[in-house]
Amino acid sequence: MAKRVEASNVTAYYGGFKAIENINLTVEPKTVTALIGPSGCGKSTFLRSINRMHEVLPGARVEGNLTIDDQDIYDRDVDVTAVRRMIGMVFQRPNPFPTMSIFENVVAGLKLNGVRRKSILEEAAEKALRSANLWDEVKDRLGKPGAGLSGGQQQRLCIARTIAVEPQVVLMDEPCSALDPISTLAIEDLMFQLKDKFTIIIVTHNMQQAARVSDRTAFFSIEKTGDPGRLIEYDNTQKIFSNPSVKKTEDYITGRFG
């Protein structure tokens, strides 16, 4: 079941550096939300704080409240692996596990979390690969290494791997920036289909992509280098791209800065 993500006063640090400040944002279930903004404005930092990947880096920490259907994910007795199982993530560069086959890659999340039964794994792998539009391309070579696929296929493999554990929310950190237009299209189509089941939050530098795939768009920006990133405007995608209420958003989407 897709869940609602609610951020209130989220502030994130890298050591002494404040990367984002006071982000307030609510993401409705079964929608695609795009985070846009210039480089270094904290989109990725915010995204990574949603599934507690931000704190993986030494010295990084998050303040404020982040809830998934009213459960605070930064609560002291929350199991971080449970959070990440609920909120999956796809990275900028495809990162299939090099020692694993295509099949093992897809079921890695299940297998490493203790699912042993072969029939369950096979069923889950086929389902995830079909959802990721990759099944027809790889069904005859599931035993081959995942790293042997093309870039676009690898990224879809990573998406399959992410949705195989059946998360409620899928975070995507510029998932198409390393891909050609055809693979990008395949992944955008995929997002439309996945929207039925998951809440999707995507960081993108490509404004056409944000306009194409998202229901709502959040625009982040910084005053100047060294300042923390802030949420400038958050609204329906159509509104943001046709009639933004903040001047800065308009400047950005019309290409006048950033």
């Binding site: 599934n51 990947m53 993986v56 030494p58 692996t81 449970a82 959070v83 990440r84 199982r85 609920m86 999956g88 993530m89 990275f91 560069r93 990162n95 299939p96 596990f97 090099p98 020692t99 694993m100 086959s101 890695a108 999340g109 490493l112 979390n113 081959k144 290494p145 042997g148 990573c158 791997r161 992410t162 554990v165």
Partner: protein
């Protein structure tokens, strides 16, 4: 756009009229080499200042000079430099390989004399100075047991230590461990032998042996462990650092706990490199003589039990036979040295094959 146009007008591209250039014929380099060697032979033997080694050395210098001059005259300066440096790099490679080939050739040619079944089936027990027989069975056994035990001790310890340093270690404590591992890398083998002699043989072993200190193969294994541990920690550490962080993040993002990520994603990815490091450590330990002499004592008889009484090892056997007065001893020493090299080589190849089978074939 405008700037490009102006720059084209003011500065036409300096393209050569043709892409072709004059080249030395293919036989120029070999012919030059032969000529250089011949000239150098005439100089060396004509003035009687040296032997064949000087001929080759002088010939190489003449060849490089001649090649540069010829290429410079025909092909131009850039090409001449390219040819000279290529020749220099190739000679450096030959220089580096020469000692290796020489060692292998010496070992094989001199070790072949006693390379018989008897050598691998008998020990030196009751072998007198006039006895042509005798073998290294006890020494091979000793090396295998000592290095085997040392490997069993150091591989888990070393890999866990490296995992701590790379994945968990923060702050001063991890820094201190890294520093001491670095210091340990430089420990001379005799010192590790002395340490085990003072600590294990003299203090601990009397408890197991009715109050009398006792040499043992296990003590030698401990001394070898001290030598192997830092090598394994450092090489494993480097290999773990080479595993790309996105792989770890990919696993974390699937809700996989950290320890399982390390065990199932990070270690398998780094495995081939870790195996190489372990094999280097084993090769080093198998060649150590001093610690074995100090704490296992050596011995002529077969002793299967590594926990009691003297044991020998192959390198110690080589040392003792090489210093023995018997005229049959040197041949035994050469064969034992050949056996040691072959043993390490076989182990290395086996380990590499095993590590490769775990990875998916490309």
């Amino acid at each position: 756009m405008t700037t490009t146009v102006t720059s084209h007008r003011t500065r036409p591209p300096a393209e050569p009229a043709t892409l072709r250039a004059r080249r030395l014929p293919w036989y120029a380099a070999p012919a030059l080499a032969v000529a250089a060697l011949a000239l150098s032979a005439v100089i060396v033997y004509g003035t009687d200042i040296g032997g064949p080694v000087l001929v080759v050395a002088l010939g190489a210098v003449l060849y490089l000079t001649g090649l540069f001059a010829a290429a410079n005259a025909v092909e131009g300066r850039r090409s001449a430099r390219n040819r000279t440096w290529s020749a220099l790099i190739h000679s450096a490679f030959v220089l580096a390989v020469l000692p290796l080939v020489s060692v292998v050739w010496t070992l094989v040619s001199k070790g072949a004399e006693r390379l018989d079944v008897n050598f691998f089936q008998t020990s030196m027990n009751n072998i007198g100075a006039r006895d042509a027989n005798g073998g290294a069975y006890h020494a091979i056994l000793g090396t295998l047991e000592q290095v085997g035990i040392a490997t069993l001790i150091t591989v888990p310890l070393g890999i866990l230590c490296a995992i701590y340093i790379v994945e968990y270690g923060r702050g001063k404590f991890a820094f201190a461990i890294r520093f001491f591992v670095d210091v340990m890398t430089g420990i001379p083998s005799i010192v590790s032998g002395l340490f085990v002699l003072a600590f294990w043989v003299l203090v601990v072993s009397p408890w197991f042996n009715d109050g009398r200190p006792s040499f043992s193969g296990f003590a030698a294994a401990l001394a070898l462990s001290v030598l192997m541990l830092p090598t394994i920690v450092r090489s494993t550490e480097e290999m773990l650092r080479l595993v790309p962080p996105p792989l770890r993040e990919g696993a974390y993002a699937l809700g996989v706990p950290k320890w399982k990520t390390i065990l199932r994603v990070v270690l398998p990815t780094a495995l081939p490199g870790i195996v190489t490091g372990v094999m280097l450590a084993i090769a080093r330990a198998a060649g150590e003589t001093a610690p074995v002499l100090l704490v296992a004592g050596g011995g002529a008889a077969i002793n299967v039990n590594p926990f009691e009484n003297n044991q020998s090892s192959l390198s110690l056997f080589v040392y003792q036979q090489a210093g023995d007065a018997s005229k049959y001893a040197p041949a035994r020493a050469w064969t034992a040295a050949l056996t040691l090299v072959a043993l390490v080589l076989i182990l290395t190849i086996a380990a590499k094959l095993l590590a490769r089978r775990n990875r998916l074939s490309r």
